[in-house]
Amino acid sequence: MSGDEWSVLALSLRTAALAVAIILPPGLLLAWLLARRNFPGQSLLETLLALPLVMPPVATGLILLRLLGRRSAIGGWVQDVFGADIVFTWRAVVVAMAVMSLPLLVRGARHAFEAVDPRFEQVARTLGASWPRIFAELTLPLARRGIVGGLLLAFARALGEFGATIMVAGNIPGRTTTLSLAIYGHVQLGEDDAAFRLLAISVTVAFAVVWASEWFLRRSSVR
């Protein structure tokens, strides 16, 4: 593997991991709320969460570009406070990945939470436990298989993210070029050998991720 290929792989893994790490806490909270609570605006929230799944990723990317550009409210604020750009940097890659993979994480985790018998939480309440600790000690461990599944899907989606990323982060070699973007770029330039090498890397990474999660689930179910 060449140095360029390494850096493409490293950037992809780093940004995807960061994106999933960022969406994990709010994603779990949203999933739990949707699974266990009835609140006003619930169906609106569900619809908003599903949008990135059903909209063309390029359209989502365009929205992000408008929201995060230097002249936008959010982009301008980040520029003022942190002195950093979002769009066309690795940060935009992370944002695009996070937005696109959040719905998958929330869906997986929500089903996992729904599968946990609410009786456990009710009885834990009568035993004097607070909601946050019930969540940490009962609900989360009992739902962990489904959550890991959702996390894996979210990570895979983040690694494979293309449309939104190219809109909001561009395809800048060494800065925002992820595996997907690099494969596309090589094919565009007729560099089939390079494209196939990256394809092989993609397959290997995907295989490793799935294998690792299977291993984790088997180990955790034995306990």
Binding site: V123, T126, A129, L138, L142
Partner: protein, 244 residues
Amino acid sequence: MKLTLDGLWVLVGGFSLALDVELELTDHVTVVCGPSGAGKTTFLETLAGLRRPSAGRVQLGDEVLDDPAARLHLAPPRRRIGYVPQDLALFPNLTVRGNLLFSRRHDPVHASGPAQIDAIIAVLQLGTLLERPIAGLSGGERQRVALGRALISTPLLLLLDEPLAALDTELRETLLEYLLRVRDELRVPMLYVTHDARDAAVLAGRILRFAAGRLVAQGGPEEMLEPDPRAVRWRPAPKGGGIS
């Protein structure tokens, strides 16, 4: 200790539970009987704070637990009412010890101290089970763990929802003995939901009969059970309604 249900009104879907009664709970087991759909479980869940009444007032001793008119609903952790549901809901990711000491970890101020915990473990003979996972326990062992877990939280009142329904006759009798020991040695007031007149004959100090969400009769076991000791049965409900 007195449990006061003052114009209590609980709605669950199309079903309503309406109770207006004062119960003296101290030092005995109060058995709640009645056909399926009579509102027995809804009654326990309301007392445990897992359902909010639409109207009326629930008071245990000096503490008002529910009073929707005053927007008062005491959360389950603050009620100190133990609840053993029919399915027990033992936490499958914890060992027997983890289940038993759950309230000790989460509410150390109110939960039993070490000496009391040892006493409860001794009464229920749980000492040899402590490190076992929940998945490997027998039906009777599970019942005892669920009972111990609720008792260690030192409830002021213990609610038991058909705790012996799933057990065979022999095991029932063993567990009834455990319940009698809990009643006599740990002296925790209990509300005990059952279909089975035999349980009531062994345990009950007082019997409440529910039907269609109303209290239709109440009395001591001598009034509520047939006197024939060879075939313990409920006495038929009196004609012309009862107390509500």
